[in-house]
Structure formats: structure tokens, C-alpha cells
Symmetry: C2
Subunit: 125 residues, 2 copies
């Protein structure tokens, strides 16, 4: 829709890992854009609602976003140094989650999985 939302999407797509709203705002301002922080937040919220970007929370409670290759259900392997993320799948995990949920009588079972580590290039430094 809007130009601004597209700007934010591209800023995200051009980045390697998860970025916070504040990060993206700083990036865009640094490259000369006159975008406002509010608009960045709104764009990210809209993009996450349509499933175009993934959201997760850091341990500090900050929301971080990433434009994903696929809109299908998947998880991330994230480098805890440079925050580069690899999209991964885990059929075994999917099955396990629903199985353990129903075993305890839970319905509408969903799950979140995040895998963290230090990527090869960061480890070699």
C-alpha cells in the first residue's frame, strides 16, 4: 500500500538478521530518509500482521523483526553475536508439540521455537 511501508519492508529485506524498530529507524535516517519513528512502528506492526515478517522478543523484551523467505510456519537459528538468522524446519518438533499438547488435554496447540548459537564466522573471530 503505502510508500513508507514498502520502504520499511525493503530495509528489513536488505538486512541479514533480526532488527529492532529502533535499529531500522536509525538505518533509514542514516541513509537520508525523513521517515518518523512512529511510522516505522506502524509499518512493522502491519507487516507482522500479514505474516510478511516474523517477530520475536529478545530476553530484554525488545521486539525484533525479520523478513522471511517463506510465509509458512518455520523457525530460526539465530547467531547470538551478529543476529544473522537461518530459517529452519523441524517436522519432528511440530509433531512433538501437538502430540504433547493433546496428551495433556490442550486444544488449539501452538508453539514457539528459537535456536540460538554462535555462527561459524563469529566464532572464528
Amino acid at each position: 500500500m503505502s510508500t513508507r511501508r514498502e520502504t520499511v519492508r525493503q530495509a528489513l529485506t536488505g538486512s541479514t538478521g533480526f532488527r529492532s524498530a529502533q535499529d531500522l529507524y536509525a538505518d533509514l535516517r542514516a541513509e537520508g530518509s525523513k521517515i518518523g519513528l512512529t511510522t516505522v512502528y506502524r509499518a512493522l506492526q502491519a507487516l507482522s500482521e500479514t505474516g510478511e515478517v516474523d517477530v520475536l522478543r529478545t530476553n530484554e523484551g525488545e521486539a525484533v523483526y525479520r523478513a522471511c523467505d517463506t510465509e509458512q510456519h518455520h523457525h530460526h537459528l539465530v547467531c547470538r553475536v551478529c543476529s544473522t538468522a537461518v530459517e529452519i524446519e523441524g517436522p519432528a518438533v511440530e509433531a512433538w508439540a501437538t502430540e504433547v499438547g493433546t496428551r495433556y488435554g490442550f486444544t488449539g496447540v501452538t508453539h514457539t521455537v528459537e535456536v540460538f548459537g554462535t555462527c561459524a564466522s563469529c566464532a572464528s573471530r
Copy 2:
């Protein structure tokens, strides 16, 4: 050590699911305690550092705590209505996480897994 910390621990242990710092503060004040909010935060921070309680973030970014039966690595099956939590294990998930991590050259691989659903008693209402 301190009496206050013990008070907070017991408040947590006496609860069924995950509670936020603010929840616990409200609970304690409601039952007549003169504890301060700052102290509740400090107690929870100390308890989480020793591994006596588990911490996770809600999608809204609020930190929630739970006194767990075991201090070993485990995950939770949480009711999204009443937030009651069941401690679960998933050897398959543990193996999968480290396997996928090392496959991509990541070291020091850790992971977070949370399973959500609606528990039987909440679903029947």
C-alpha cells in the same frame, strides 16, 4: 536469604501458572504485605539468576515467572487462558536443536521452546 525474597518465592510457588512481577506485587499487597514493587523485582531477578524460577516473555514483552518443580532443563505447556503451566520434556527436541545448530556450523547451541494451548477446563467453559 532475606525474608522478602522468601515471601516472593512462596507467592510464586503458591500460584499455578506464570505470573508477572506486577501480578505478584498485587497479590502480596492484597494479602496485607507491605512489600514494595522494587523489592518484588529484585527478588525475582535474584531467583531467576539462581535458576530457582523460570522466566519468559509474553508477546506483549512482559516478563513472567514461574517456580518450577525441577531446576533441570525443561519446557512448558501453557494454557493461554488461565496460564496454568505443565512442565514437559522433549528429548527429541533437544537432539534436534543441537543437530540443526551444528549442521549450520553454529557453536554453543541453546534453544527456547514454549507450547501454548487451551487447557481442558478452560475449553469446557
